[in-house]
């Protein structure tokens, strides 16, 4: 019996071909596999490029300013956000300890597990007084966590005293863990001490300060990406403001109302709109939309609604043109989502006596909401990453202002404008574009992941 088993094992090990044999036998399969791994290589290449140069940028800024980059600013830990961190970590430790050894609860004093009313009221008053004293919003928010933890502990004690199963819910622990990570980040960077803090929290973007030597770092330079990010957000959300009502409306009309002949005209036109290059849209914004916006801005300036005269290059201009650019995307994706809804839902609603508009708004849109949402998220990601149209329409002055009639600069426009001139590798200007690019990449990646997740959710539903 054992001998038989041994021969079987031997045979199967002989049948098992080595990797080299497998490759020579199934050559096509492996060639095709290697072509598909190029996707991984490209992604890794992008991430490596961006991360490497961005890290160089941060460490160079920190070096140039006399900060040691790894240390950042640990004095932030002693501030109110540091206190918040301590509270969170204590709660986390408590949660972890209780999840490991729940029987400890029975040894806890009765004041904790079954508090009397005076104790509770006293603690509420203490918290209220702390709120008045502490000015940090973060700490005030974090002070609510112990209350929540206490309530859980009491509940856990009640559960423990009855013979029920152990709780396996770990979401609170994860929540506390990521919460404390976030607070840690805030507490060491909010003082604008470190290079990261300057990049993420300050609002002045002057990468070419008035320095003797433009190429190296000097104190007049400031790298607060928020001024670029703010304009990007203005443009992207302004674009959604235009594209979402028009695009979704268009999609509903095409899928619910329009005759096939009209669809045959409108759909190719939308495809054509989607096919026009972004630099042509930029030219269009520059010669046509800009002057129109200026006329409106002058009207507003004359009435004192805005505090500075308008310029031809402005975020509104960019928002309008990017809105027109992403309109076909929203329209076609939303239409796909609406068409994917089973016809029974529509017919059922109509059979109950609802009008078509009621069916559309109360049944069809509800049913395809996740698809429409996905189209909006992906359109937002496209709007954030749009470059040439925005460079030509919004301008090249990085300012942090809420006045949308003044020239500003988005993140993509900064990269395009900065790299347009001669840019020797390794100098600070060259490194800034990678730091901005990494931030842009992370934002669009998050939006894409979210959008694709929502999209697959509705694909699964039908």
């Amino acid at each position: 019996m054992t001998a038989l088993n041994e021969t079987e094992v031997k045979q199967s090990s002989e049948d098992e071909p080595s990797l080299l044999e497998r490759i020579s036998k199934e050559r096509t399969r492996y060639i095709l596999f290697f072509t598909s791994t190029s996707v991984i290589l490209i992604t890794l290449g992008i991430i490596q490029t961006l991360l490497f140069e961005a890290t160089t940028f941060f460490s160079e800024v920190a070096d140039g300013r006399g900060w040691f980059s790894a240390e950042m600013d640990l004095s932030g830990l002693a501030s109110s956000s540091g206190m918040a961190l301590l509270v969170l970590v204590a709660c986390l430790a408590l949660e972890w300890g209780l999840s490991q050894r729940p029987q400890f609860l029975s040894k806890a004093p009765a004041l904790v597990t079954s508090p009397t009313k005076p104790v509770v009221y006293g603690l509420v008053a203490a918290t209220a007084i702390l709120w008045l004293v502490v000015e940090s919003f973060l700490l005030c928010l974090v002070l609510l966590v112990p209350w929540f933890m206490w309530k859980r502990t009491v509940n856990a004690y009640l559960v423990l005293s009855s013979p029920s199963s152990k709780s396996t819910d770990k979401s609170v622990m994860y929540g506390l863990f990521f919460g404390s990570l976030t607070v840690l980040f805030f507490s060491i960077t909010t003082n604008y001490g470190g290079a990261l803090g300057e990049f993420f929290f300050s609002t002045q973007w002057t990468p070419t300060g008035a320095c003797a030597d433009r190429r190296s770092l000097c104190d007049n330079m400031s790298f607060g990406v928020n001024s670029l990010l703010f304009t990007t957000i203005q443009v992207a959300f302004g674009a959604l403001f235009i594209a979402v009502p028009l695009g979704v409306g268009c999609a509903i009309y095409l899928s619910e109302y329009a005759s096939p002949r009209l669809v045959a005209v409108v759909k190719p036109t939308l495809e054509l709109l989607a096919g026009i290059p972004s630099v042509v849209y930029g030219f269009f914004a520059f010669i046509y939309i800009g002057p129109l916006v200026v006329e409106f801005g002058e009207f507003a300036f004359a009435r004192g609604w805005i505090d500075a005269p308008p310029n031809v290059l402005n975020p509104i201009n960019g928002a309008i043109v990017v809105g027109v650019m992403i309109l076909p995307l929203v329209a076609s994706m939303s239409e796909d989502a609406l068409r994917a809804v089973p016809n029974e839902l529509r017919e059922g609603s109509l059979a109950l006596g609802a009008t078509r508009i009621e069916t559309t708004f109360r049944v069809m849109i509800q049913a395809s909401l996740s698809g429409i949402l996905a189209s909006i998220i992906l359109a937002l990601s496209r709007a954030v990453g749009e470059t040439m149209a925005v460079t030509l329409a919004v301008g090249t002055v990085a300012v942090y202002t809420t006045n949308m009639f003044l020239p500003a600069q988005t993140m993509t426009a900064y990269i395009a404008q900065r790299v347009g001139g001669d840019l020797p590798f390794g100098e600070i200007g060259y490194l800034t574009i990678f730091a901005v690019g990494l931030y842009l990449f992370v934002i669009t990646l998050c939006l894409n992941l979210l959008g694709n997740k929502v999209l697959s959710a509705y694909r699964e539903a039908y």
Binding site: R29, L32, T269, L273, M388, L392, G420
Partner: protein
């Protein structure tokens, strides 16, 4: 319940009717606004392609500046030595507001070859001093106004101030001019007679394949059985055309015409033979249509070839803006996009060669071979997310990997090769997704029947799945190419130049030589950034050229898609 229905009937019907109408109209309007944007866009880009002459405004006079002036200057004379007009006459129109009434006055300007001849135009309360002035070339002269309102100046006709000796361009002429010569150009045939004959033969065979008339079919009947002779005869003629045309573009097109028409005629003769062997009448075109192998496909390719070669063989379409003129920094209107045009073609060609095999291979692996493991899921997720990465990030990837020397950089410099690789990487996820979609839509019955007769996996893929999926893959690839053709952002990062005065060298990144290159979108970007209005006209003209090129590519893709869709589901 009854109460509810009554309510619905009586009280709400009116409101619901109104809601229905308003709602549907609103939704229709939102679709129409999209269309309106498109028409406004095309219209607004078309306007600047018509050249404007001198336009401006004389600022109003005040107590500090009693007479305000506006400088005018023409570079070349508008009359020859005998005093005859060379081109159009230059006419300026002055317009101003005279106490609420609009007053206009036209002034004719004669520019002579004599220098330093100056005559000013004076505008005051009583009107304009003169109806015609004579000035010298390259001489400044003025419009002087003592009015307290602005005077607008507009050139109605004649050459623009920076025109060349021949008086072109003139006001309101179109920037993109095209010379079309039919058959004969300057006393010579536009192409070799062989090529011309080939084109005519292609035309005839297309007509025969699509609308055969009975006498022609009867005439062809005598050719049945001589297909071999016909085929080798056409191939010989093709070679002859190539040799006679000295391997020019026309010669290649002529040879292609011979080959395609030979294929078409051969298939038709085979079909007729098949019909006759069944004992049917070959003049029944309905039957003949179905017995010709892949008639629709041959017709599609033949028609495309006919239209494309028509630009070179019977006609000679010459668009100097696109294929002859380089950028001219002193005379904007004399500029063209030759270097950008060829740069675009090279960048797209390299991108296609780099990306298509890799991405189609990846798509085949993911759809046909891969087991649903974690690796496959990862690759799939990466493809989906790469398709959404902003184009400028790809540009930065290209800058660090292809352009830069050292580290992981290949050190190609800001050259066509680096640009082509970058664009290829950018096109890859789009092509993978489109090809996957196409492979997925191939019915699994095809695969199963091929496995059923004992094919290996690669044979199934190569011989059965790929041919059915090819139209979808091709459409996706063409659309991806047309998308990267309009992209400027990655190439701005890679380092396309603003001013290129020569044809690009595609392999300069490896062999050395001049690296500079530009593409049409980059040219539009840099021209739009110029302050002078004339450059905006050129940017508009380049935009229109680009849109037309893209529209052509997209319509080829759509034609292919519709044709093959019809063939797959007859």
């Amino acid at each position: 319940m009854k109460k509810d229905i009554d309510l619905l009937k009586k009280r709400n019907r009116r409101r619901r009717d109104v809601m229905e109408k308003v709602g549907s109209t609103g939704l229709a309007l939102s679709g129409l606004i999209g269309l309106m944007f498109l028409s406004v866009l095309v219209w607004q880009i078309a306007i600047p392609t018509f050249i404007e002459g001198e336009t401006g405004e004389v600022s109003p006079a005040s107590e500090f500046i009693p007479v305000s002036e506006y400088i005018l200057k023409w570079d070349h004379p508008t009359v020859d030595d005998n005093g005859d007009l060379i081109g159009d006459e230059v006419v300026l129109r002055l317009t101003w507001d005279d106490n609420g009434a609009e007053r206009t006055h036209d002034v004719a300007i004669t520019v002579t070859s004599e220098r330093n001849l100056r005559e000013d135009i004076v505008v005051n309360e009583s009107g304009v001093s003169t109806d015609a002035v004579t000035v010298g070339k390259k001489t400044k002269f003025y419009v002087q106004s003592s009015l307290t309102v602005p005077v607008e100046i507009e050139q109605l006709t004649g050459p623009v101030p920076a025109a060349d000796e021949t008086g072109s361009p003139a006001v309101s002429s179109f920037v993109i001019s095209a010379d079309v010569d039919v058959l004969v150009s300057e006393g010579e045939l536009v192409s070799h007679p062989f090529a011309l004959v080939a084109w005519v033969v292609l035309l005839v065979s297309i007509v025969l394949l699509s609308y055969p008339v009975t006498p022609l079919l009867k005439g062809m009947e005598s050719l049945i059985g001589r297909q071999r002779m016909l085929r080798f005869g056409s191939y010989g003629l093709g070679v002859l055309t190539l040799l006679a045309g000295a391997f020019s573009l026309e010669a290649y097109l002529g040879a292609a015409c011979w080959v395609v028409s030979a294929v078409g005629m051969n298939r038709m003769l085979e079909g007729m033979e098949r019909l006759r062997s069944q004992g049917r009448d070959i003049t029944q075109f309905d039957r003949l249509k179905h017995s010709i192998t892949n008639r629709e496909g041959v017709l599609l390719w033949a028609r495309m070839l006919l239209v494309f070669s028509a630009l070179f063989i019977p006609l000679l379409v010459d668009i100097p803006f696109l294929t002859e003129r380089y950028q001219d920094i002193f005379q904007p209107y004399a500029s063209g996009i030759r270097s950008a045009f060829f740069g675009t073609i090279w960048v797209m060609g390299i991108a296609m060669v780099v990306s298509m095999p890799v991405s189609i291979g990846a798509a085949i692996y993911l759809e046909e071979y891969a087991a649903p493991t974690g690796m496959t899921k990862l690759i799939q997720a990466l493809v989906t997310n790469l398709a959404g990465v902003p184009s400028i990030v790809f540009g930065m990837f290209g800058l660090a990997v292809f352009v830069k020397q050292g580290g992981i950089g290949m050190g190609l410099g800001p050259s066509i090769l680096a640009a082509g690789f970058t664009m290829g990487v950018m096109a890859m996820p789009i092509i993978v997704l489109a090809s996957q979609e196409a492979l997925r839509s191939v019915p699994s019955s095809i695969r199963e029947s091929a496995y059923g007769v004992g094919c290996t996996q690669w044979q199934v893929t190569r011989d059965h799945v790929l041919p059915s999926a090819m139209p979808g893959i091709m459409t996706g690839s063409i659309l991806a190419m047309s998308r990267i053709m309009g992209e400027a952002a990655p190439l701005v990062v890679v380092g396309a130049a603003a001013l290129v005065l020569f044809d690009p060298e595609p392999l300069a990144g490896i062999t050395g030589g001049n690296l500079n290159f530009t593409v049409i979108p980059i040219q539009i970007y840099f021209w739009t950034s110029e302050p002078e209005h004339a450059w905006h006209s050129m940017a508009a003209a380049a935009s229109i050229s680009l849109i037309l090129l893209l529209a052509t590519m997209n319509s080829v893709a759509i034609l292919l898609r519709q044709h093959f869709r019809k063939r797959l589901n007859p």
